[in-house]
Symmetry: C3
Subunit: 253 residues, 3 copies
C-alpha cells in the first residue's frame, strides 16, 4: 500500500494470478478460473527443482492433469508459461489481467500527488485481502472512494482500441452518482472511453461493496481478448487511455 499526499481516492490493483494446484497423482485443481486447453505450457517449482510441464484436459470428463517427466509434489502451484508478444499496436501474454492493472498503478505513481495505491491478493480466488485493507484505509485516512485498476473483456459492446472501459455494473451494481461523476470527468477530459454493462463477473470491488465501510467504487480498465488464457491480448491505445483517465480521475475525484 502506497500513500501519497492527502488521499481522497484509493486505486486497487490485484497482484495474484490464476493457475492450478497439483493434487494427487497427476491431478490438477484450478486457482481462480483459468481457460483450459490440452497443450498449454505450465511452469512452477517444487523441492526437486523447476517444473515446465503440459496441461492435459480429459475430453470426456473435463478433468485436468499434467504431463511431465516426473511426479510434481502435492500442493505445487503451476501458472501459464509466459510468452510475451508485442506489436506496434498490441501486447499479448498470459496475466495481462492483472499485470496491466499493476503497471497502470505503478505508472500512476510517477506523477501522483494525492491518493492511495493498493496491491491486493486473492482477487482471482474468492478474495481475502481487500476487506482488511479497506478497513485500514477508511479508519486511517477517511478515504472511501475507490477505482478498480483491472482488465475487463472485449465483448459485442466493448471493442479493442476504442478506449478504456468504465463499467456501469458487473455482477454487482455500484452507486450511480459516483459512476456518473467518473463519466463526467472522462467526458470533460476528452479521453477515449467505452461504457460497459455486464450481468456477471466481479473484481476487488466485491469486497468493497460488502465491506463495513460505505465505499464508492468503479471498475475502470482496458478490455482484453482471450481472457484468462496464455494469449490475453490488449490494444495499446486502451492502455494509454486507461493511464490517462486514472491521472485525471486522481486529480479531480
Amino acid at each position: 500500500m502506497l500513500v501519497f499526499g492527502t488521499p481522497r481516492t484509493a486505486v486497487f490493483a490485484h497482484l495474484d494470478s490464476i493457475g492450478f494446484t497439483v493434487r494427487y497423482g497427476r491431478q490438477l485443481v484450478r486457482i481462480g478460473g483459468p481457460q483450459v486447453e490440452s497443450g498449454y505450457r505450465l511452469v512452477g517449482h517444487d523441492a526437486q527443482g523447476d517444473v515446465a510441464c503440459t496441461l492435459a484436459v480429459d475430453d470426456e470428463t473435463g478433468e485436468l492433469s499434467y504431463e511431465f517427466t516426473r511426479d510434481i509434489e502435492r500442493g505445487t502451484e503451476l501458472t501459464f508459461a509466459c510468452d510475451f508478444r508485442e506489436t506496434a499496436d498490441t501486447v499479448q501474454s498470459c496475466y495481462l489481467d492483472n499485470r496491466l492493472g499493476v503497471w497502470n498503478a505503478l505508472r500512476l505513481a510517477e506523477t501522483l500527488e494525492h491518493g492511495i495505491l493498493v496491491f491486493s491478493c486473492w482477487e482471482e480466488h474468492g478474495g481475502g485481502s481487500v476487506a482488511y485493507l479497506a478497513k485500514h484505509i477508511y479508519e486511517t485516512y477517511g478515504v472511501r472512494q475507490a477505482l478498480i485498476s483491472d482488465i475487463t473483456w472485449v465483448t459485442e459492446g466493448v471493442h479493442a482500441g476504442q478506449g478504456v472501459a468504465i463499467s456501469l455494473r458487473d455482477s454487482l451494481i455500484p452507486r450511480r452518482s459516483y459512476v456518473e461523476r467518473i463519466r463526467q470527468i472522462a467526458k470533460a477530459a476528452g479521453i477515449p472511453h467505452q461504457l460497459e454493462v455486464e450481468g456477471g463477473g466481479g473484481s476487488d470491488a466485491k469486497e468493497l461493496q460488502h465491506s463495513t465501510q460505505p465505499w464508492d467504487w468503479c471498475f475502470v480498465g482496458a478490455p482484453e481478448d482471450h481472457v484468462h488464457s496464455p494469449d490475453e491480448l490488449v490494444d495499446k491505445r486502451d492502455i494509454a487511455s486507461m493511464l490517462a483517465l486514472y491521472q485525471v480521475l486522481m486529480r479531480e475525484l
Copy 2:
C-alpha cells in the same frame, strides 16, 4: 436511519427494487431476480427523455430485450410500470416487496418510542449497505436485535389472509432463542400470525448474520402472491397484523 428514544431493536426495510439494466443493442440484464414475461411494461429515463417500453423474452434462449421506438442508452435502469390495484381485501402492484415493508416502518414511526428504523439498499442484488449500517448501529447504540420488515411468499404452508409470517428460517437460520421470544410475544398479544420454514431465499438478514457484530435477527413480514412480478398481491389483513405485531415487538423485545 431514524433513531427514537433509547433503542433496543432495529427494523430494516429495504428501499431498492428489482428490474433491468440496458446492455448493448437491445439486450437487458437483470437487477435482482425479476419474473420475466414478454409484454411486461417497463419504465425508465435516459438523457433523451422518458422511456416506456416492453419486455421481450426469447422463447428459445431466455434472453431478455426490450421493444421501443428508439434505442435506450447503455446502462439505463428499467423497472416495472406501476399498475396499482386496490380492493376491499387486497392491494396489488409491482414492488409491494418492499414498499409494504417501508410503509410498515413509516407507520411504525407514528407511535414508536424506542427503536431504530433503517432504510437499506441493494437487498435485491447481493447487499451492500446493511454491513456498514449494522456496524454503525452496534457501535453507536449498542443495539443488536433486528427485525426484517420485508415481504415473503404465499406457499403451501403460508396462506394469504392468515396473518403476518414469522420466519423460522430461510437460506439462513437465525438464533432460536430470539425467534422463540418473538413467537411468545406474538402469541401473548393474540395477533394473527403464521410460521414460515423455507430452505431458500434471503433478506437484509444475510448481512447481519455475516456481520462482525453478534446480531440477532428475525424476518417478520406479510406474504405475497405473484412474487417479483408486476402483479404482487397482498391481503390487507396480513398488512394489518404485520404492523400490529411490529408495534408490540418494538415495545416488548
Copy 3:
C-alpha cells in the same frame, strides 16, 4: 471462548451439526449438507415431546420427508440418531464432524499454556459466529494465527490411519508461508501427517479469509469416511496424531 496465558494462536472448533428442519406437512429441508438415505433414524423434540422418526427420500424427485406416528411441529430441528461404535482401531458415529474437533480442543485445554480455544456455530450452514469472534480476538489479544480443528475427508490422496491431514487448500487458499511453517513443525516433531489438496469444501476459515483482520489460517484435522452420514468413521491413530500435532503447534507457532 477460552483464553490461556499470552495467546499467539486461536483454535476454532465448530459445535453445530448438520440435520433437517420440519417444514410443512411432512416435508423436511436441510441444515447444512447431510447425506440422505431412506431409513436413516432422526431424533428431535417439539412441544408434544420427544421425536424418533425415519427419513424418507423420494426416488423420483429427491424430496425429503419423515415417517412418524404423529405430525411434528413446524420448525422442529431433527438430527441423526446417535449409534456410537468403537473398535480397537476406530470410532464410528454421526457427527464425528465436529465432535472430534471439539474433543481435540478440550483435550488440548488440559495442557495448553498459551492460546485461545474458540467454539463456533453455524459452520455447517453458511457461517455466522466466526466473523465477530475473530474481530473480538484480534482487537483484544492481537492474535491473528488460526488453526481449524475440524474433520476432513478420506480420499484417493488422504487415507485412514496415515495421520492427521494438513490441508494445503480447499475451496479457499491460505497464505503459503503460514502453511509452510506448520508443515515444518510437523516434520521436525516427527508426527505422522498427510498433505491434503482439495478444490472444494470449506470450514470456519471462510469467515477468517473474508474477515476485516489479516488472519492466517490452516485446516488441520483427521480424515473421516462416510462423511455427513450417521456412519462417520475415523481411525484412532489419526485422532492421536491430530492432538499431538496441535500440542506441538500451540507451543511453537
